[in-house]
Structure formats: structure tokens, C-alpha cells
């Protein structure tokens, strides 16, 4: 690189604590440090859970050093020993990753080597290790390799993974091809495992300020008892409170589905239309020899900027979910309507207001929700919100809080009765567990 080698140290601290009115105290704490000198790097992640937050694995209780690694990175090859994350293809065959908001961490403890040719025309990676089981490792291990060939806008990848620890080794394999040219893109993947397989096809097109993408996926018996693969829901992840009350989760026994998005902007208007339709495969169901609807939704969002100060969003989501994944005829239908506004006052303040309504004749029937968030460029923000089930339970889920952000530091203090779900406050979105009490979140990076 021709530059002087320097010692560098970077790190982050994150602490999320809940004082529940029951009373009980819960807290998740993370410290991550990385050191680098030239081509050498090393790091640790320490975790401390005096009592893990509700919704997190109770086995996390205690203190540990589940992340530690050393690595050497040359221009065309690299080697890592210790705990690491990686992914092959789209992750259906293998993915190890961390998501603290979900309480998910399936890092591998072992080794990894990789090399590539100049221009990255050909690359190869091999890895192996034991799956994390806080604070140490489980007896389950995994070994795999991936090779990729790239030329022009075409990429061809192949991988194989062996899972060991539950009887005889289980061998999985995958093949992936992708093609990008101009505004058009396509990607196809086939994954096989003993007794199961999965196929994914993605197509995308864009021209000017118009774009569209569609993904189709078929899964048959793709559950991984190791918890080392990635089977996300194909449908849109909802950001609004009421639209995310009953999200769809992948039916790994067997499903076929598609999801499509269209985006378009013109003169201060922005449009987004999304649709998703999932069917359960007949051989994954007990009583049917035809595909049965498991989930479908249509989402329409229209945004309009009215001059420099005001922006409004109108959003509609029409959802129908089969809780039995199509095994029984009964479904739950719900229609969600949202009005969302952002007004910037002269000076430093901005106000966000939301009103939401969920109409349904099933489950807990109708809901309504509202929220207000006043924030300042100085870093301060206060918010209040309430989500009210007036159709059945009469329950309120409310929260009021204040947050402060400066540079890489953020503190967030809130009190309320919170239903588990995604919430945005002070400009940051994260997953929150259900609680009735006070929660303090602190994070800092350097």
C-alpha cells in the first residue's frame, strides 16, 4: 500500500437494561475491541448478561468472551483463526451472523482461509469450526468451501458444507449464478440437502427513476437443526407498528412464493407498491394434495414533499395470514391504514406525527395507534406513543421517552408498556422486547 503502518484500535460498547415493574432487572451488555497493525488484526467481543432481556435465550446468563480472533490479510489471500462470521450464496446453505436486536449470534469458532486472483476473477474460501453456544462452543461443528468465478457482469458460485455432531455428517451443496447488465439483473440459486432442496430466482429492472424487482422461492424440507442457515420471510418487513403485528414467518417444511416491488419518483412524489403471495406445498401439509395459501399481502405507499418543511406519507397494507400455513381453511385478514407526517420548524426542531388504524374481524379485531416525536439537531429527542386494541382486549401499549445523541454516543431512556416489535425513536430503529417498566439503552463507538 506504500503507507506507513500504524497501530489502530477501535471499539464499541452497548448496554440495554430493563427495570420491569414485576419487579425484575434485565441487562444485555457488549464490549467489542479490534486492533490492527499493517496486515495483522485481532479482536475480542465480551458479553455480560446479569439477567438477559425478556425474549432472549435464558442460557445467555453470565459473562463470557465468545468473540476472539486473529487474522492476517494479504492482497490476494487471508487467514483467520478464532471466532468469525461468514455466509455462502444467499445464506440458505450456510450463514453465521450476529443480530443483537434479535439476540442471535451463531458465530463459528475455528479457522478460515481465502484467496482470490487479481481482478477477483476467481476466488476460493474454506472454513471450519464449532458453533457458538454462550459462553463457549457447542459440540456441533461445520466445515465447508466456496468457489466463485466472475467475468463481465456474470458470476457463478458453488459451495458445499458438511454439518457434524448429530449422528452421521449431513452434506449440503449449492450453485448460484447472477447476471448484471445495464439496468437489468438476475440471480438464481439451487440448494440441496439430504431430503430437501430450495430454489430462488430474482429479477430486477431499473430505468431512470423507475425500478421493479421480483423474487420467487420454493423450499422443501429446509429446516436446519444446527441453526446455521438463513431462511428469511420473502414478504416485506413492515416498519409501521400495526402493520407488523402479525408478520409472516417462513414455513421451512415446504412453501412456494413470490414477492415483487415497484418504485417510482416524480416531482416530489415517491411511490412504492409491494405484493407477496406464499403457498404451502402439498407434501408439507397433512390433509391436502394441492398448494394452499399461507400468506399474502399488498402494500402501497405514497410520499409527497410539500415544499421544504413538510413531508407526508400515506400507507395501506392489506394482509391475509393462515396461522396453520394452509392446513386449515381459516385465515386472519387485516387492513392497516397509516398517515405519517414530518414537519421541520424554522430553527433546530422537527416534529413527526403518525396515526394508524388496523381493521380486522379476526384475532383481537381492531387496533388504533398514534405517535409523536419531537427532535432537535442538538441531539435531543422526546417521543410518546400509544397502541390501543379497542376491538377486543382494551389493552394499551404506550411509551414515553427521551434520547440524546452526540457523535458516536447515544442514550435512550423510556418508560412504558411495550408490545414486542420494531420501534423507531430519536432517529434510530431497533427491535424491542415486551416490557412494562423503564428501559435504558446506551451505546458508544470509537
Amino acid at each position: 500500500m506504500g503507507e506507513a503502518q500504524v497501530h489502530t484500535l477501535s471499539g464499541s460498547i452497548e448496554s440495554n437494561s430493563l427495570l420491569d415493574l414485576s419487579p425484575a432487572f434485565y441487562s444485555n451488555n457488549y464490549l467489542k475491541l479490534d486492533y490492527s497493525y499493517g496486515r495483522f488484526s485481532a479482536g475480542i467481543q465480551a458479553e455480560y448478561y446479569p439477567n438477559p432481556l425478556p425474549g432472549y435465550d435464558a442460557g445467555l446468563k453470565g459473562i463470557g468472551l465468545p468473540g476472539k480472533y486473529i487474522a492476517w490479510t494479504e492482497t490476494y489471500w487471508n487467514i483467520t483463526a478464532g471466532d468469525f462470521y461468514d455466509q455462502f450464496g444467499t445464506g440458505i446453505i450456510f450463514r453465521s451472523w450476529e443480530d443483537r436486536n434479535l439476540g442471535w449470534n451463531n458465530s463459528l469458532g475455528g479457522g478460515r482461509v481465502g484467496f482470490s486472483t487479481p481482478g477477483d476473477v476467481f476466488s476460493f474460501k474454506a472454513l471450519g469450526g464449532f458453533k457458538r453456544q454462550f459462553p463457549w462452543y457447542s459440540s456441533r461443528s461445520l466445515a465447508g468451501a466456496e468457489a466463485a468465478l466472475r467475468f463481465g457482469g456474470v458470476s457463478i458460485e458453488g459451495s458445499a458444507v458438511a454439518r457434524m455432531g448429530d449422528g452421521s455428517p449431513s452434506l449440503w451443496w449449492s450453485a448460484l449464478a447472477s447476471w448484471n447488465t445495464g439496468g437489468f439483473s438476475a440471480r438464481a440459486e439451487w440448494v440441496g440437502k439430504p431430503g430437501g432442496n430450495a430454489q430462488t430466482l430474482e429479477l430486477g429492472y431499473g430505468a431512470g427513476k423507475f425500478s421493479a424487482t421480483v423474487t420467487a422461492r420454493r423450499l422443501q424440507n429446509m429446516l436446519d437443526t444446527f441453526g446455521m442457515n438463513y431462511l428469511p420471510s420473502l414478504c416485506m418487513e413492515q416498519a409501521y407498528m400495526l402493520a407488523s403485528l402479525n408478520p409472516y414467518t417462513t414455513f421451512s417444511d415446504g412453501e412456494f412464493g413470490w414477492s415483487g416491488d415497484v418504485y417510482y419518483s416524480v416531482k416530489g412524489w415517491k411511490f412504492h407498491v409491494n405484493g407477496c403471495w406464499i403457498w404451502a406445498l402439498p407434501n408439507a401439509l397433512r390433509n391436502w394434495d394441492v398448494m394452499r395459501m399461507a400468506y399474502r399481502d399488498i402494500n402501497i405507499q405514497v410520499e409527497k414533499r410539500w415544499g421544504r418543511r413538510l413531508k407526508t406519507v400515506a400507507f395501506v397494507s392489506i394482509q391475509e395470514n393462515s396461522p396453520s400455513h394452509g392446513d386449515r381453511k381459516a385465515t386472519n385478514a387485516q387492513n392497516v391504514f397509516v398517515l405519517d407526517g414530518l414537519y421541520r420548524f424554522p430553527g433546530k426542531l422537527s416534529l413527526r406525527l403518525q396515526a394508524q388504524y388496523l381493521y380486522s374481524q379476526e384475532l383481537t379485531r381492531d387496533w388504533m395507534a398514534a405517535s409523536a416525536d419531537l427532535s432537535s439537531v442538538d441531539g435531543w429527542s422526546v417521543h410518546v406513543q400509544d397502541m390501543y386494541n379497542h376491538g377486543d382486549t382494551g389493552e394499551h401499549y404506550y411509551e414515553a421517552g427521551v434520547s440524546y445523541t452526540t457523535g458516536g454516543f447515544k442514550a435512550d431512556l423510556a418508560y412504558g408498556h411495550q408490545r414486542s416489535g420494531m420501534i423507531c425513536s430519536g432517529g434510530v430503529c431497533r427491535w424491542q422486547p415486551e416490557y412494562r417498566g423503564g428501559i435504558l439503552r446506551l451505546s458508544y463507538h470509537f
Partner: protein, 161 residues
């Protein structure tokens, strides 16, 4: 004892003030599916902003819209690169690409951190999260979250470089 503490603090500050550059080696995806590393961003000519976002992050999208609306004017006043790093997994990859084009974010450079390797290396704990680097790749400013007007504070920092 006091001397040792002062020395340790000075050493720590000395190291950290160099700013963390271990992220420069991390492999990320380009818009056309190829691979690169953030070392490519350091061209010794232009400062660059790195903004972490994901498809369902409302405030990330608000911030990118706000920068996009003034990006051309700001480029005329003080050129800088705006590098948008999408932290979505592979499921949302095609959606992220479509969203970026459909919202008219012209002039931005897009990269995809599908397994959050760069997100971890840069210690991003939540989004939106923005970093400003000078032309030599030295970190000069970072900010978590978004409130309308934050983009103007960012541009003042860019102009001060």
C-alpha cells in the same frame, strides 16, 4: 500511580486518534455483484461520507432523501463522495437496489454489506449512522440517528476540511 494512569490514557488517545482503519480490508459487494474493499474509497483527493442504511430504516431513507435533494448544489460548492452502505441481508439486496434507483438517489455510490462484516468492523450499533472521512481516509466526524437538519451540520463539517 497517577503518572501511569495519565500515560495509559495518553497512549489510548494516541492510538485512537489515528482512527480505526481496520475496516479498510473488509470485503463488500458492489452494485453489479462484484467485490471490493473500502480501501478503494481513499483517493487522496476527495473527502467521503459513509452512510449505513437498510430498506426498512425510515430515518435512514429520510436522511438519504435530504442529502439527495441538495447533493448537486453541494457538489458545486464543495465536492465530496457519498457512499451508501446497505446493511440488508441477501433477501433484501435486490429490493435495496430497486429502492435506491426508484427514490432517485443520483450521484451516490452504493455498496452492500450482506453479512454485516463492515458494519461490525466500523462498530455500527444502530442505523442511520454516518461517518465523515477526509481525503486521506482519516475519520473526522460521526453521527448516530437522523433529525432533519443533521445533513446541514454534516456539510458544514465537510466545508471545514
Amino acid at each position: 500511580m497517577k503518572k501511569i494512569i495519565v500515560l495509559a490514557a495518553a497512549l489510548l488517545l494516541g492510538i485512537t486518534s489515528l482512527s480505526a482503519q481496520d475496516y479498510l480490508k473488509v470485503e463488500i459487494q458492489t452494485m453489479d455483484g462484484g467485490k471490493t474493499t473500502p480501501a478503494e474509497w481513499v483517493d487522496h483527493k476527495t473527502p467521503y461520507v459513509v452512510s449505513f442504511w437498510f430498506v426498512t430504516c425510515k430515518y435512514c431513507i429520510e436522511e438519504m432523501d435530504a442529502v439527495s435533494e441538495v447533493f448537486e448544489d453541494w457538489q458545486a460548492e464543495r465536492p465530496f463522495r457519498f457512499i451508501a452502505v446497505c446493511t440488508d441481508d441477501t433477501r433484501s439486496l435486490s429490493k435495496a437496489k430497486a429502492l435506491a434507483r426508484g427514490r432517485g438517489w443520483d450521484g451516490f455510490e452504493f455498496y452492500f454489506d450482506v453479512n454485516k462484516e463492515l458494519t461490525r468492523a466500523m462498530k455500527v450499533t444502530s442505523c442511520p449512522c454516518v461517518f465523515l472521512y477526509d481525503k486521506n481516509g482519516r475519520l473526522v466526524y460521526s453521527h448516530l440517528g437522523y433529525t432533519p437538519g443533521d445533513e446541514e451540520v454534516l456539510f458544514e463539517k465537510i466545508k471545514a476540511l
